[in-house]
């Protein structure tokens, strides 16, 4: 029998216990629905409020979080989430507005959305922005749909190939796969840039476009980015930018100025929307003039211009060749847009540039501190993150072991085994919201672990040992597939 650290909500249930009660009905009683339309039982927990609170507080204590410590998870931008955002997004005017209210009753919401669209356009250099996509991958899908719609409208039906560098996030090829397009993988060169020869060879009139993360997942700004874009445009393709790493570019360079046609933002990375243990995110998409008419519907626009006395009157508009609707309603307004708006408003142009500069400084500082202790396969000035190899000569220690051992030192591990082109990758993104002391302590821990890997590898193999839980049996989870506190009956897998 396994030891139970915290019972499940079902195990805490006892028949007849009550939590929050509802008021008595104040209307005359009507007949209930016919029996054949009613459910026979409602198998949900019965618990008192205090026990619900303790259960979730106990669970929360089993989590590592940005609020409790350093979380250098590469490509995830785990920066501090300002507390004021948590207040502004809960102002009653935002919290209690219905998405289908008449527009004259929600001008505050629409003004916020319009301004956020404008700000994101200014920050990125794009001609238009949709706030509708729910997360980064959803934004990618939106972008790929627009690219396909553009070629289709031009009658250019030969284009079926999307070029994707080998260092790309997995969501890029997955988004393309959802469209039934072919993925052509483009290798990286020995400086971590897109291999121009390979790219040139792949460019022809069957190319939809290219999806490029820049800075890429090695943390490198592609030194030939303008050449890459001109090759893609030269063969009639469109250039997609994965904005996951935009934190490094705020006030540094605008993807639209470089010639990108479309890019998604991750408001939950760059603009401090909290990650929530796996969402909700918010993934707006910016486009150049080329794709402006293809944006999803609806966008927020000005229906009547304002003047010195009166604010403009905002409403919804639909672009002429819109790909349609990506989700119900208008996107992640409360949890995403209001927080990001608050954050941008508190930074201004100079504050945004500070973010990128210090994110890049912190990453380069950490890289400099661990250089010589870990192999850094692409060793030059990095952007907001860098990739080291978690393997050592004469030792069977792997990146996973280094990561687990970091937990013993009180840190969240970096991203492991990504990008795929670096063996035993440790992808480290400190963000701008960490101070020098934290970075020093983290570097010291990494250096100590590199020594342990050679002298006491069992410490790494057995890590973590100081956390409440040790390593999990992932094979058992996949083989036995227990996905619910209880299952109705064991159904055979097909």
């Amino acid at each position: 029998m396994a030891t139970i650290i915290e019972p499940t909500i079902f195990e805490l249930s006892s028949a007849g216990r009550r939590g929050v009660r509802m008021p008595a009905s104040d209307v005359p009683v009507v007949d209930s629905l016919p029996q054949h339309l009613l459910r026979s039982e409602l198998p949900l927990p019965e618990i008192a409020e205090v026990d619900v609170v303790r259960h979730y507080v106990n669970l929360s204590k089993l989590n590592y979080s940005v609020d409790s410590g350093f979380y250098p998870l590469g490509s995830c931008t785990m920066k501090y989430n300002p507390k004021i955002n948590e207040d502004t997004c809960r102002y009653p005017g935002f919290l209690f507005s219905h998405p289908l209210q008449p527009i004259e009753t929600v001008q505050g919401n629409l003004a916020l959305m319009y301004e956020l669209q404008e700000w994101l356009k200014e920050i990125s250099g794009f001609a238009g922005v949709t706030l509708q996509p729910a997360a980064g991958a959803h934004g990618e899908y939106t972008g790929v749909l627009m690219m396909a719609a553009y070629h289709k409208l031009r009658g250019d039906s030969k284009r079926i190939k999307m070029l994707i560098p080998d260092a790309a996030h997995g969501t890029n090829p997955a988004s393309v796969g959802m469209m039934g397009m072919q993925v052509v993988t483009i290798p990286s060169d020995d400086r971590g840039n897109v291999d121009l020869k390979a790219l040139e060879a792949a460019c022809d009139d069957t190319v939809v476009g290219m999806m490029l993360t820049n800075p890429n997942t090695l943390g490198m700004f592609d030194e030939n980015v303008e050449k890459v874009i001109s090759l893609i445009h030269g063969c009639g393709g469109l250039m997609y930018g994965d904005g996951a790493n935009l934190n490094a570019l705020l006030g540094i360079v605008r993807p639209g100025d470089l010639g990108f046609d479309v890019m998604h933002f991750n408001l939950h990375k760059t603009f401090s929307v909290p990650h929530g243990g796996g969402g909700p995110g918010c993934g707006p998409v910016g486009v150049s003039k080329t794709l402006l008419d293809f944006l999803p519907t609806p966008l927020v626009g000005i229906l009547e211009e304002g003047n010195d006395e009166e604010a403009p009157f905002y409403g919804f508009v639909t672009p002429p060749n819109s790909i349609g609707r990506m989700k119900a309603f208008h996107g992640h307004f409360g949890g995403g847009m209001v927080r990001a708006y608050t954050y941008i408003a508190m930074h201004g142009p100079d504050g945004l540039k500070d973010i990128a500069q210090y994110a890049v400084l912190n990453a380069n500082y950490l890289q400099a501190k661990v250089r010589g202790h870990y192999k850094i396969p692409f060793d030059r000035i990095c952007m907001h993150e860098f990739v080291a190899e978690g393997r050592f000569e004469g030792s069977d220690v792997r990146a996973l072991d280094v990561s687990k051992r970091l937990m013993d030192y009180g840190f969240h591990p970096p991203t492991n085994y990504f990008p795929l082109i670096v063996p035993e990758a440790l992808m480290i993104e400190p963000t701008e919201t960490e101070n020098k002391d934290t970075l020093d302590k983290f570097a010291d821990a990494l250096i100590k672990i590199a020594e342990e890997a050679k002298t006491q590898p069992e410490l790494l193999h057995n890590a973590p040992s100081t956390t409440k839980f040790g390593r999990m049996d992932e094979v058992k989870a996949a083989r036995e597939l227990v996905l619910c506190c209880w299952l109705p009956e064991n159904v055979e897998l097909n």
Partner: protein, 447 residues
């Protein structure tokens, strides 16, 4: 430097360690002519100023707690959110964590998702639930992806009820535009027919049939016959269900549904002008490998402690890349937690009370409204907390009149169904008092 904890002195030390002279020198790889653009943005506000500015913006809305009495639903519902929920959601340990890739230090999130999966499976009657989708509409579109994968793209017909939420149908159109499939059945003329009339569209090429429960007009149908017909042709059936209604109604599983999805916003999530909400996705265990999204499974750790991990990750984008079941990565983790706490803290009895209040009040409102001259119910089918009301004049005019009296009326069905331009979809929940309902009736009487 709003949230940056580095002093000028430390900055200089760090620059020296890196081996560059200034912060700007870190960006030599960026093309010079585009480097350091001047951004035309308003100057930075302090926290105090930002709070005041945002408060002004929020206050310029009319909201349904302080300014308006609401009878608007149509996919987003005004329900009571117990206080406990936000207290728990505001714990930094939950909301400032990432997707639980490192299970040893993420058991809080993992167990919470596992419990969410269990609660949703019990609510819908299905075998398994995933960790969430963006919203009810995208969860519905993902059901099509499941069916498409199940038949390896060999079946290309989708049968959709015209009484599926119009925005959900729009999202289906968007998601399927690259798939080479056809959508049939959703003509407005089918709106007044029984659900079995959809059976005539189901052929050997049909991969999935999609219906809503209760449907967009509020009607409750038993879909058993339709589901049997679909199964006879080998098609899957997806039921898009309202979770509050499921607290009272026979489960879609009891009717034989293969997939049950929906929007769980009514479970403890504020209306928030449309998002973020919480798509749920439940199905039979036999389809679990084709299901998109994150899944948490039970296991043990090396110390013999019960624990939880993300499982069946081989389906997902970071492993399978272009052959993944979906590109979904970030989902709605924190809101799945909200829904779990909602179900836990109201519990079996509190939830039944919510359902009963919705049912009773909606029926009281329907009875009173249908007594008014010129008004009548569109359908005699049973309903739960939302119903379609035929009005003596266009719904848009009725709504404008109500708004002038501080009432947010129903959803104008003429937006989506031209023949229903005189019809309002009215939602009544536990939040509507008898006085509010009486006021609605009174205002309409004088119209």
């Amino acid at each position: 430097m709003t949230f940056i904890p580095i002093s000028p002195h430390e900055r200089d030390e760090m620059l020296a360690t890196v081996g560059v002279k200034s912060l700007d020198d870190l960006f030599d790889a960026v093309p010079k002519k585009h480097r350091f653009p001047k951004l035309n943005l308003p100057p930075a506000l302090t926290e105090m100023e930002a709070a005041a500015h945002l408060s002004d913006m929020a206050s310029s809305n009319e909201n349904v707690q302080q300014d308006l009495v609401s009878f608007l639903g149509a996919g987003a519902y005004n329900h009571y959110v117990p206080s406990v929920i936000d207290h728990m959601l505001r714990r930094g340990e939950f909301y400032t964590a990432y997707t639980p890739y490192q299970p040893e230090i993420s058991q809080g999130t993992l167990q919470a998702v596992f419990e969410f999966q269990s609660l949703m499976a019990n609510l819908t009657g299905m075998d398994v639930s995933n960790a969430s989708h963006y919203d009810g509409a995208t969860a519905t579109a993902e059901a099509i992806n499941l069916a498409y994968a199940q038949y390896r793209g060999k079946r290309t017909r989708i049968v959709v009820s015209p009484a599926l939420h119009p925005q959900y149908r729009d999202v289906i159109d968007t998601y399927t535009q690259g798939m080479g499939v056809e959508t049939v059945g959703d003509e407005e003329t089918n709106l007044t027919l029984s659900p079995e009339s959809l059976s005539s569209y189901i052929d050997d090429n049909t991969m999935i049939v999609i219906v809503q429960y209760p449907d967009f007009l509020g009607r409750i149908f038993d879909y058993k016959k339709l589901i049997d017909d679909a199964h006879a042709k080998g098609a899957l059936v997806c039921v898009v269900a309202n979770p509050t209604a499921l607290l009272m109604l026979k489960t879609p599983a009891d009717m034989g549904a293969d997939i049950v999805v929906g929007e769980a916003q009514p479970f403890g999530i504020p209306m928030w002008y449309g998002g973020p909400y919480l798509g749920f996705f439940t199905t039979k265990k036999s389809y679990v490998h084709k299901m998109a999204g994150r899944l948490v499974g039970e296991t043990i750790d090396v110390r013999g402690q019960r624990s939880y991990v993300l499982t069946l990750t081989a389906r997902e984008q970071h492993i399978k890349r272009e052959r993944a079941t979906s590109n979904i990565c970030t989902n709605q983790g924190l809101l799945a937690l909200a829904a779990s706490i909602y179900m836990s803290v109201l519990g079996k009895q509190g939830l039944s009370e919510v359902a009963n209040l919705c049912y009773q009040k909606a029926h009281y409102a329907a009875n009173e409204l249908s007594k008014l001259k010129g008004f009548k119910l569109f359908s005699s089918e049973p309903f739960f907390h939302e119903f379609t009301l035929q009005c003596p004049k266009p719904a848009s005019e009725v709504n404008q009149y109500l708004l002038d009296h501080g009432i947010l009326g129903g959803y104008d069905l003429g937006n989506d169904y031209p023949e229903l331009k005189n019809h309002l979809l009215i939602a009544v929940t536990e939040m509507n008092s008898k006085d509010e309902i009486d006021a609605l009736v009174e205002v309409l009487k004088e119209m």
